[in-house]
């Protein structure tokens, strides 16, 4: 771990500098990711206005939920698994395999560093959304600190899950259908589409045992104060569990995946 820390720092710093160079592109990218929650926010505010609060979520709660959603989305952005197809098929991964450090560490650190710029660019968007929708929540310092821990943990879990999914490209060049299935599962079971409280109870139970909820809904609810202290501890334990499980799965699958890879360079 001590050996990896300087590498993480260098990769993260390089990513910050890279993203800072292309501020315009990064801002457009952040804007692009924010359209989705704004649409959900408007739809569910409309429903709550018409039907009243839904399992503890009224207009104010939906508003707070989806505005924090935008921050969590920036936090948990990870390498798209579709990129692996090109990376493996074209043999470009051969360059990364020559490095003395596993590409997992370099990419995890690089994406984490890029977030420093993305989060900075997110601030004006958040101000705009706050003025427009006037969310009613005021987190204290403790909630803010716990949120930061859970948001970073959510990023690591999501990064791991998508990395595992990307590794499928070592066996097939037609992983897109599988990727779409997993992304759809994430959409429905993570709180990305709607807070799980809106879902039927059996769906809520299932989502509690899968990794997705711990990357989206959990950090959001920590910040908007929807959880008790006990629920926060349990949630953090689930995050630790999923970080461990997904990390072990990556070690196992990567070893097999890399044996499948052959490349002829020029």
């Amino acid at each position: 771990m001590r050996r990896l820390l300087p590498i993480y720092m260098v990769e993260a710093r390089a990513a910050v500098q890279r993203q800072a160079q292309y501020r315009g592109a990064a801002f457009i990218s952040v804007l692009g990711f924010l359209i989705e929650p704004i649409v959900y926010l408007i739809v569910w505010r409309t429903v709550a206005e018409q039907a009243g609060p839904i399992n503890g979520y009224g207009v104010d709660q939906f508003t707070s939920y989806y505005i924090v959603w935008t921050l969590v989305r920036v936090f948990n952005l990870a390498l798209a698994p579709g990129a692996w197809d090109w990376w493996v098929r074209t043999g470009r991964i051969a360059n990364d395999l020559l490095h003395p450090v596993n590409p997992y560490h370099r990419q995890l650190a690089s994406m984490a560093g890029a977030k420093v710029v993305w989060i900075t660019l997110w601030i004006p968007v958040a101000v705009f959304l706050t003025i427009l929708f006037r969310p009613d929540f005021s987190p204290n310092l403790l909630e803010g600190s716990v949120f930061l821990i859970t948001a970073w943990a959510g990023y690591v879990i999501r990064f791991n899950v998508l990395w595992l999914l990307g590794l499928v490209s070592f066996w097939t060049t037609r992983a897109q259908a599988l990727i779409e299935v997993v992304i759809a599962m994430e959409l429905l079971l993570s709180g990305r589409l709607v807070p799980m409280a809106v879902m039927p109870s059996w769906v809520q139970t299932v989502s509690g045992w899968l990794p997705f909820k711990w990357t989206f809904q959990f950090p959001i609810e920590v910040l908007i104060g929807q959880l008790t202290t006990g629920e926060i501890w349990r949630g953090m334990a689930m995050q630790a569990l999923w970080m461990g499980l997904s990390g072990l799965a990556i070690v196992a699958v990567w070893r097999n995946a890399i044996r499948k890879f052959t490349a002829v360079g020029t």
Binding site: G32, F33, L34, V39, I42, T46, Q176, A184, L187, V198
Partner: protein, 265 residues
């Protein structure tokens, strides 16, 4: 006119070749069905969730929202089949310096770069969209008259033209900006915003989805034609936006080509 006829003939040859190439990979058909089914299921679940708590959303009933979903899937299928493969191919060629080969051809350059590729298996999305629309039509049959059908048809054509023009305008910026992937994210996001009727959005967002990036109006107005809520103003706006989008994207492309100096070695 001869030039246009010639360009259409070239486009048809490209599509025929594209289809023949793609049918070699039949497994892709199965995978496309899985992808289309997942996307459709997600759209249906979102609507079902909303109508689990209310009987209408901003005045739109459940079958009416299925009409919007059907148009969204149908136009999305047209986009994935005819528009996106060509736009991504164009962006790649600008980046790699290969566009010169396309610009040198003795056909209209915009027509040529817009019709070379065909995402053949995305036709599945077009079929799925038609099926969803068919179901919505059956549910709304009592309120749909012949005039509504004609206006719906015109609305769909306008919608497809707007989609093409928006993508064309955005990809033309590849002449100046090398990395246009971020813009593709925005267009995709705005297109997904059209999955719901734009009339439920605040005025600033309705305005943006009508006048700035008119992807919302491209989907909502055809849906209004078959849900008994189309106004002459809305139809007029759609036609005006279509004319402006097609003309402006054409002018922008010609400006881009005039200023393009090539990048190949």
């Amino acid at each position: 006119m001869n030039r246009l006829t010639h360009s259409i003939k070239v486009a048809l040859v490209h599509w025929k070749l594209g289809a023949e190439y793609e049918v070699q990979y039949r497994m892709n058909f199965v995978l496309q069905i899985v992808q289309s089914a997942v996307r459709l299921a997600t759209g249906i679940i979102a609507i079902q969730l909303v109508f689990g708590f209310t009987t209408q959303l901003g005045g739109w009933t459940e079958p009416e929202l299925y009409a919007v979903l059907g148009i969204h899937v149908l136009l999305g299928g047209i986009m994935a089949t005819f528009i996106l493969p060509n736009m991504f191919s164009f962006m790649y060629e600008v980046r790699e310096g290969e566009l010169d080969f396309a610009l040198m051809r003795p056909v209209d350059s915009q027509m040529f770069i817009s019709t070379r590729q065909l995402g053949f298996w995305s036709v599945v999305d077009i079929i799925v969209g038609i099926v969803v629309l068919g179901w919505a039509f059956a549910e709304l049959a009592e309120t749909i008259g012949p005039v509504d059908l004609v206006l719906f048809g015109i609305g769909l054509i306008c919608g497809a033209l707007i989609l093409y023009s928006v993508w064309m305008a955005f990809t033309t910026t590849a002449f100046w900006l090398i990395d246009t992937d971020d813009m593709a994210t925005i267009i995709t996001g705005l297109y997904d915003a059209g999955r719901w009727p734009i009339r439920i959005y605040p005025l600033w967002l309705q305005g943006a989805l009508t006048a700035v990036v008119p992807l919302g109006v491209a989907i909502t107005v055809p849906a209004e034609a078959i849900t008994d809520r189309l106004t002459p103003t809305a139809m007029g706006t759609l036609i005006l936006v279509t004319v402006v989008a097609v003309t402006a994207s054409r002018a922008y492309w010609q400006y881009g080509v005039r200023n393009y100096s090539g990048a190949s070695a």
